[in-house]
């Protein structure tokens, strides 16, 4: 059962990702990416990371991709990016070769022979007993409290930056 679900979600994610790169219209690319993100959310649930799955859908599908669609619609990039698509054969081949190399390297590195380091304390039963949300929350607010607070600085900087950039003229 788990394999079946993994294969479904995995194949959908992979196919949608490839579709995103191949689609010429940006709006279809965005839709493919949304599909890939959903499949990935399913994989998170298979990995018993319910909180991450919900946050993933909430943040990526609910906010980030809506922003993408909004910008695509705002700029009205309907017909083939407005300019004739001039694919650079050198660029494409270099990209494909690079990606092929990377994939081969990663595949060699992550084969079934992979050895895992020492296990932590949060096995499946422990997490289930306290609840996934509670367990992640405890770690987040104890061991990672300072980094967590620092992310708010990143968000604030991004907020200010986006407003300054998007403003037409600065007074």
């Amino acid at each position: 059962m788990e394999w079946v679900l993994f294969l479904i979600f995995g194949l959908v994610a992979a196919a949608a990702a490839v579709g995103m790169v191949l689609q010429r219209s940006p709006i279809y690319s965005a839709l493919c990416l949304i599909l890939a993100l959903f499949a990935q959310g399913g994989l998170y649930i298979l990995l018993h990371a319910e909180l991450i799955a919900a946050v993933h859908i909430f943040v990526y599908a609910g906010a980030i991709m809506v922003l993408f669609l909004f910008v695509i619609m705002l700029l009205d990039l309907r017909p083939e990016d407005r300019s004739p698509v001039r694919t650079n054969p050198v660029g494409v081949s270099v990209g494909l070769i690079l990606a092929g190399l990377l994939l081969a390297e990663l595949a060699l590195g992550v084969g079934p022979h992979i050895a895992l380091g020492p296990r932590g304390v949060y096995d499946f039963e422990t997490v289930r007993a306290v609840g996934n949300t509670q367990a992640v929350g405890r770690i987040l607010f104890r061991e990672y409290l300072i980094p967590f607070e620092l992310t708010s600085v990143i968000l604030l900087a991004a907020m200010v930056g986006a407003m300054v950039l998007a403003k037409r003229k600065l007074e």
Partner: protein, 324 residues
């Protein structure tokens, strides 16, 4: 196997109830607004117009299904389906009674927010796929509006989560059990009144209903994102709107009015009664208030609701810290 069977039965029951409620909400809304505006509302088909939803359904099904020539066909066909599915799957985690919930998940509240935030895609894609200026403007407006109000909607319930200490909707309802001094029910609406008001206002905006119905403002945008839709595809947008309205009322009941809790009557009845009150409130608002102007809408969301929601979070945290 028993578990699977029971779950499927529950899903069928809930879906049947919701779809029936959607059909009769259209009738009820027309009746209520008619009464408020001193008219009759539907009165011809059946006694008190009770068969009106069926007549409407038959009419919509037999109408010609038009796809505009310049529309993006795939997106145009996909959009109504995308808008109705999230509206229906929200009900998977809503607790109707102590043991009457399809599934109680650990991250229930986040699930609801994740799913409802997908509703905007149906509207945005309908606006884009129709290839018409009214539809596009409606779609753009709604995406900006829904993303803005989602923030205050999400922040308004943080106080409830802090008080219950859980994201599970069943736990949140259980936390509102009992009463203060034997008279006041222990519902979140009393300590979280500010959060409750913010939740109601921003869920009304998320629903794209009057006075926040900018995306389909008929006086300026013809009908907004669904201008080009006809027949059942048009009906699907309407069903999504009403299903979302029920879902929002059910969420308000669960989070702030103690869900199924109440004396004497059976729990499910209490739940449905409270949901009905919210539905009536939404209709009342629509019949009473004029539409916002666009800049007022954005200003209200960002400059009033959002800071108020943040204040609510801070206050709740401070009070919990002092008294607990």
């Amino acid at each position: 196997m028993d578990f699977l069977f029971a779950t499927i039965l529950k899903i069928a029951l809930v879906m049947g109830l919701v779809l029936l409620a959607v059909a009769y909400l259209t009738w009820l809304e027309r009746k209520v607004i008619g009464d408020i505006q001193v008219r009759y509302g539907p009165s011809r088909v059946g006694r008190f117009g009770l068969l009106q939803p069926i007549a409407d359904g038959i009419k919509l099904m037999f109408k010609e299904d038009i796809v505009p020539a310049n529309a993006d066909r795939l997106i145009f066909l996909l959009a109504p389906a995308i808008s109705i599915i999230p509206a229906l799957i929200v009900f998977a985690v809503i607790p109707f009674g102590p043991s009457f919930v399809i599934t109680d998940v650990n991250v229930g509240l986040l699930y609801v927010f994740a799913v409802t935030s997908l509703g905007v895609y149906g509207i945005v894609l309908a606006g884009w796929g129709s290839n018409s200026k009214y539809a596009l403007l409606g779609g753009l407006r709604s995406s900006a509006q829904m993303v803005s109000y989602e923030l205050s909607l999400g922040l308004s319930v943080i106080g409830v989560v802090m008080m219950a200490g859980s994201l599970s909707l069943v736990d949140i309802v259980e936390a509102q059990k009992g009463s203060w001094y034997g008279i006041l029910p222990r519902w979140n609406v009393i300590p979280q009144f500010l959060g409750f008001v913010i939740f109601l206002l921003s869920s009304n905006a998320e629903l794209n209903r009057a006075p926040f119905d900018l995306p389909e403002a008929e006086t300026e945008l013809v009908a907004g994102f669904h201008t080009e839709y006809s027949s059942m595809k048009f009906a699907m947008f309407f069903m999504a709107e009403y299903a979302n309205m029920i879902a929002a009322s059910a969420m308000a009941t669960t989070l702030f009015l103690g869900g199924w809790q109440g004396p004497l009557l059976p729990p499910v009845i209490w739940f449905l009664l409270k949901v009905f009150c919210f539905l009536f409130l939404f209709m009342w608002l629509r019949a009473t208030l004029p539409r916002f102007r666009y800049d007022q809408l954005m200003g209200f969301g960002w400059k009033v609701l959002l800071p108020a929601a943040l204040v609510n979070v801070m206050l709740t945290a401070a009070v919990l810290l002092i008294f607990a």
